[in-house]
Structures are given as C-alpha cells and as structure tokens.
C-alpha cells in the first residue's frame, strides 16, 4: 500500500488522547466507591443511553456489517436488525426487573434469586462470553491499523489493550460513562458525514448501479430450507443474546430506578436504529466502487477504504481520518465495557479470594482482574488472527442466548425456577453452543447437515436450554428458594409502592 498514512495516525492519536482526557475529567466527579462501580445510580436516561449505545456499537457494527453486506448481500442485514431488536427483547422481559433486583452483575442476580450454587457457573460463562466478544475487538483493531497506517497486525490489539487498561483501572464507572457517551456520537458522526459525502459523489456520477447478481438482494441465506434455518438461527441468537451480554447488564444498574431503566432502553433502541441505517449504505456503494477490495478478500476494511476510492485527494484523506477515528473509538468503548464486566467478575470470584493465606487489597485485586480480562483474549487475537470479526461476535451472541437468556427470563417471570434447574439449563445451553464455538474456531470448514447445525447453533441450543431448565425445575420443585415470593415483589412492584422488598 502506498497511500498517505498521516490521516490514520492523526485520527488514532486524537481519539486515544480524547478518550484518556475525558476519562480523567470524569474522575473529578468520581469521589465515592459507589461512583466507581455504579456511578451512584444517578445517570439520566439520555446520557446513559448514549453511553450504552457507545459501548454496544463495536467493531462488528462499525466495520463488520458493511463488509458482510458488501460481500454477501441483503441477508446480512439481519445482523444489525437483531442487534437492535435484542434491545426490544431486553426492554420487555428484563430491563425494569433487573434494575429493581439490585444485582450488579449476572452472577449477582443468579445468587440473589437462586442461592450461591448457581454463581460459579454464571461466573465462568460471563468470563467465557466476555473473552469471546473481546477477541474480535482486538482483531478489528489490528485490521484497522494495518489498513490505516500499515502497522503490523499485532500493534492494534496492543494499543487498544493498553489504553483500555489505563482507563478502566484508574477511572471506574462514572468516568467511563462520559467516555462511552462521547464515543457514541463520535461513531455516528464518523459514519454519517462520509456517507453523506459519498452519496453526493455517487449522485454526481449519475447514480450508477453495481453488478447486482441475483442472490445479492435476497434477504435470507442461500440454499433453500438450509438458508431459512441459517437466517432464523441468526435471528434467534441476536434477538435473545443481547440481554445476556455481560457488559450490557452492568450498565442497567446505573439507572436511578426501574422506570428510568425502561426509558433508557427505549432511547438506546432509537440511537441504534439511527446508527444502523448507515453501514448498509457503505455496503451498497462498495458494490459500485469497491470491486478491487472484494477481489482482494479485504471486505472487512470497506468502510475505511471506500472514501479514498471514491473521493481523490485531500477530501478523501480527511474522510478516511474520520472513519478511522470512529473505528478506533468502537474498539476502545466496547473493550472498556467488556473489561469492566469481565474484570469485575474475576475480581469478585478469583483475585480477591485469599491465595495461600494472602489476600490482595480491593484495588489491586480489581487491577489484576482487569489485566487478566485483557491479556487472555489479546494473546488469542495475536495467535489466531483470521477468525472473521462478525463471525466471532455472532458466536458470543449464540452462547449468551443459550445460557443467560433462559436464566433471566425464567428467573424474572417464573416462580418455579430452582437452582438445580438453572444449573442444568445453563450447562445444556452452554455446552451445546460451546461445542459449536470450539468447532468453528478449530476447523469450521466441513459441509453437510451437522456442520450447518454447528455453525449456527442458536435455533436448537436456545430451546434446549429452556426445556432443560423448566424440566429439571419441575422435577426438583421442593428446592424452590423460600424467599422467591419476596424477591418477585422486589422485581415487579413499582418503586412508588411501599412494600417490604427483602434485604438489599
């Protein structure tokens, strides 16, 4: 590549410095422990929704969707639809009760609802899903820096890992909220402005049509009934997986009450809907102007390369700088949220335990936990650089949908759930979808019906988890926790009603 690398370097530097500055500025508002972990539960819906949006829109949304639509066509539009509709499912089943439960993480919720036996399984799952989701963030950072400044592919992951560690270990939730909210608006601008310019250029060229092959506009995967299965399995994984993502759940505790949690979710739904109008524009324009990228198998960097391909000279360089900044913000914000969530669980369950008689103090324990949360996926990302970005994110959604979705939905709405039922369901869904993950990461090339079922596991693993969870709970009905009814009161009664909600 012989292009100018200056805009890329400037963009990455500016975003990194802005992130660290806003994080430090937010520190001035962080005075108490409660600020540190939950921003004192006083974040307004508007700010909180921007922060959730900023955290949620990851490398897969910013780069992956455009690349997938560009390569495969309209059936890939189900990814952004599912990632948005996931928030509708979260809104109607989980948002307000989860906030009212008083749980900070998913293991906390499981323990409060069902007792400590379920906690360990949930902690393992949170860490597994978090690592699986961090992996593509780091890989995307490598891709972006290679495209932007010709850096070797390990440079991006290392930079993102270091900035995230610096921010997370010093800042805490209050300052991260400002950083994430800023990054939503940065990402939206970084896609919106270039898209508008590129559409004007396209109109100026006389609105040429691309080589639209027959299957490109078909909104479901190829292969008749098999394609239908693939598409519906993807829909199930994304619609139901969002509520089980560890970094999404942590954010709900920063709302003042259940009603604010609902309103926040509605604003998130709107912000995501606006953002996801944009990536398909890049995918469609790529079909007209970006054939060389498709031929070179570099569709993942379409968003970064398209401005340069369509607008020559300085204008193109400026737009490239802008999209590079947006992409980098995407890795930073999503990784920060995940590291807080995974690091928090590692701290509670591993690093603050006494080891051979010695116990780390609170802050050191959290820093060690956060470092572990970053280092493991960082090494995997450098060792296995060629798992597709959206592919790995899709698998993380499938695992979340097969484990935490049944746990949350049944735990919130069904009084008959028992600890034995929950563990059995989590194991069934987790092992089923986990087998698919191992198979895809290890090989993922074989054909046939079994391969189809393994590459998109959600359509069978989610119902399996629900059936096992309900069935085993019914068989062990004597184990329904004694405080179930009191806990249901806490989850569902509005804050305005004075009732005994049990010990917080």
């Amino acid at each position: 590549m012989s292009h100018d690398i200056a805009p890329g370097i400037v963009a990455v530097t500016v975003v990194t410095i802005a992130t660290l500055l806003i994080g430090t500025w937010g520190l001035r508002f962080s005075r108490t422990t409660s600020d540190f972990f939950v921003a004192s539960r006083t974040v307004r819906p508007g700010l909180n929704a921007s922060a959730i949006g900023g955290e949620y829109l990851s490398a897969a949304s910013f780069l992956g969707v455009a690349g997938l639509v560009f390569t495969f066509g309209a059936d890939m539009l189900w990814y952004p639809i599912g990632w948005t509709a996931g928030y509708l499912m979260l809104l109607v089943f989980v948002a307000a009760p989860l906030r009212r439960s008083g749980a900070y993480t998913l293991p906390d919720f499981a323990e409060a609802r069902l007792g400590s036996g379920v906690r360990a399984v949930c902690s393992v799952l949170v860490v597994g899903i978090g690592w699986l989701y961090l992996l593509p963030q780091f890989q995307g950072a490598g891709l972006t820096l290679r495209a932007a400044i010709d850096a070797p592919e390990w440079v991006g992951p290392v930079i993102v890992g270091l900035v995230v560690l610096a921010n997370v270990t010093s800042g805490g939730m209050r300052s991260i909220t400002f950083v994430q909210a800023f990054q939503y608006w940065l990402k939206l601008t970084a896609l919106l402005v270039p898209a508008a310019v590129l559409l004007v250029v396209w109109a100026g060229d006389g609105t040429p049509g691309g080589g639209h092959q027959g299957g490109w506009s078909m909104p479901l995967a190829d292969g008749g009934v098999d394609g239908l299965y693939t598409t519906y399995s993807l829909i199930i994984a994304t619609f139901l997986g969002t509520m089980g993502l560890p970094h999404v759940v942590v954010r709900f505790y920063t709302n003042p009450d259940g009603r604010a949690a609902r309103r926040t979710t509605l604003v998130v739904l709107t912000l995501l809907g606006i953002f996801y109008l944009l990536p398909p524009v890049y995918g469609a324009l790529g079909r007209v102007y970006g054939d060389e990228l498709l031929a070179a198998g570099r569709s993942d960097v379409l968003v970064l390369e398209l401005p340069r391909l369509m607008v020559p000279g300085l204008g193109g360089e400026l737009l490239t700088g802008l999209v590079t900044a947006g992409a980098f913000a995407a890795f930073l914000s999503t990784s920060s949220g995940l590291v807080i969530a995974v690091g928090g669980v590692l701290t509670q369950d591993i690093t603050s335990r006494p080891w051979s008689g010695r116990r780390l103090d609170g802050i050191t324990a959290f820093r060690v936990g956060a470092a572990l949360a970053v280092l493991v996926p960082l090494f995997v990302a450098i060792a296995l650089p060629h798992v597709g970005v959206a592919r790995a994110v899709g698998l993380a959604f499938a695992v979340a949908a097969s484990t935490f979705c049944p746990l949350l939905v049944l735990g919130i709405w069904w009084r008959g759930l028992t600890d034995a039922g929950a563990v059995a369901g989590l194991l069934a869904g987790g092992l089923g979808s986990g087998a698919a993950v191992v198979w895809v990461l290890a090989d993922g090339s074989a054909g046939g019906r079994a391969a189809l079922l393994l590459s998109q596991p959600a359509a069978w693993s989610v119902p399996l988890a629900f059936v096992v969870m309900i069935g085993v709970s019914l068989l062990t009905a004597s184990r329904v926790p004694a405080h179930t009814r009191r806990f249901m009161v806490r989850l569902h009664t509005p804050e305005a009603v004075q009732v005994d909600r049990g010990p917080m």
Binding site: A74, L77, W78, A85, M218, T231
Partner: protein, 125 residues
C-alpha cells in the same frame, strides 16, 4: 344511707387505634397472605401478557420476513421508490417499527404500574 354509688363503669371511645391502621393491601403482600399473592400475581400476569403481545407483534411484523421471501422469491425484484423491496424493508423500515413497539410497551407498562400503585393506595385511605 345505703346510697351505694353506682358501680364504676369504664367508659371508652370507639377503637380508634384500629381505625387508624386498617389492614393495607401492601400489608397483604408483605405478610404473604393468599390475597397478597393474588395482587402480585395479577401485576405479574398483566406485565407478562404485555411483553408477550409485543413479542407477538415483533414476530408477525419482522420475524415473518425471511419466510415470506422464501415462499415468494419474486418479491426481491419489486422496487418501491427506486429501492429493491428487501433493502427498503430490512435496511430502513424495520427500525421505526422497533422503536414504535418499544414506545408502546413503555407506555403500557407504566400504566399497569400506575394502576397497581392506585390499587395499593385505595385501602390505605
């Protein structure tokens, strides 16, 4: 002489303490009486039904699209205001539909909770 005074009678007013603290409906919930269970159950059922109705609308409005295009592949060639129908539906129209469903849910759920709070307050008066 033997004017015995009439035997002493204790004169009391009506039982005011009890009148001040009638059994409240929140009390029923706190003490886990069967009636309290009915109150909580009705709120739970109302909210769950609302959630399922919204999900039902989501499945009909958006979840059915792959099946529709599978059964009628000719629809992919239909163009509306210059755009192929699948791109218009999946790229643009779904998002306002999702926001609309969410907005409707929030309004109804808040109304259910207000009704529940009113019910709890009725007896406390």
């Amino acid at each position: 002489m033997s004017d015995h005074p009439p035997p002493r009678v204790r004169v009391t007013g009506p039982q005011r303490r009890q009148a001040q603290t009638p059994r409240t409906r929140t009390g029923d919930i706190d003490e886990e009486t069967p009636l309290g269970g009915v109150y909580l159950g009705s709120l739970l059922r109302e909210q769950l039904w609302l959630a399922l109705r919204i999900v039902g609308l989501l499945v009909v409005a958006i979840g059915s699209l792959p099946l529709v295009f599978h059964l009628a592949p000719g629809l992919t060639d239909v163009r509306v205001i210059g755009m192929p129908l699948p791109w218009l539906l999946l790229g643009i129209v779904v998002y306002p539909v999702l926001v609309l469903l969410g907005w409707r849910y929030v309004r109804r759920a808040e109304r259910n909770e207000r009704d529940f709070a009113d019910l709890m307050r009725d007896v406390e008066r």
